[in-house]
Amino acid sequence: DAGITQSPRHKVTETGTPVTLRCHQTENHRYMYWYRQDPGHGLRLIHYSYGVKDTDKGEVSDGYSVSRSKTEDFLLTLESATSSQTSVYFCAISTRGGGIADTQYFGPGTRLTVL
């Protein structure tokens, strides 16, 4: 499992509340990613990080922010949760340098429900 954990694993929250999801890795990989998984859409990239304090947007970044103050932790924040952000969120890491020959490994996922 490449030493990837996510917390919490399940969360129910109300519209308008802030939510932070945590991804933790134990192997000091440089690249980390946040995806959301929705039926009919597969997985879509929200944000990714290529080092401490270095992040960039993915294809569905609106309404989300990220932070990476340590190599091992990548946080995803929903500033004001909406029902459209109800989803399963997956963290992933790249095992090499982020190139085309790289492979991504995924965390167990966080199921978020926004009421």
Binding site: G40, G58, G98, G99, I100, D102, F106, G107, P108
Partner: protein, 110 residues
């Protein structure tokens, strides 16, 4: 921008039958293609990738650049193959970001 399409949302076969999960992509260059699998209540895991040209759990996939396809095949399906399968690609830009297809739910019936 690149795109991955999996035309079948659901696929059902009987045990021992051949199975083919279709994947088509659009990208003008030379992407790297992957198949990921998600068994029930488990995390997404890599099944195979084009660059390795390997066979995992009896599955193979051939990249057809002319048809821009990367179909996943297995000659004799097993019940434990029942899972969600995702085709994905990366184009080698910064960060090896993956673009996923919508996924195909495979059910292998006894």
């Amino acid at each position: 921008a690149q795109r991955v399409t999996q035309p079948e949302k659901l696929l059902s076969v009987f045990k021992g039958a051949p199975v083919e999960l279709k994947c088509n992509y659009s990208y003008s260059g030379s992407p790297e293609l992957f198949w990921y699998v998600q068994y029930s209540r488990q995390r997404l895991q890599l099944l195979l990738r084009h660059i390795s040209r390997e066979s995992i759990k009896g599955f193979t996939a051939d990249l057809n650049k002319g048809e821009t396809s990367f179909h996943l095949k297995k000659p004799f399906a097993q019940e434990e193959d029942s899972a969600m399968y995702y085709c994905a690609l990366t184009v080698g830009t910064s960060g090896s970001r993956l673009t996923f297809g919508e996924g195909t739910q495979l059910t292998v019936n006894p």
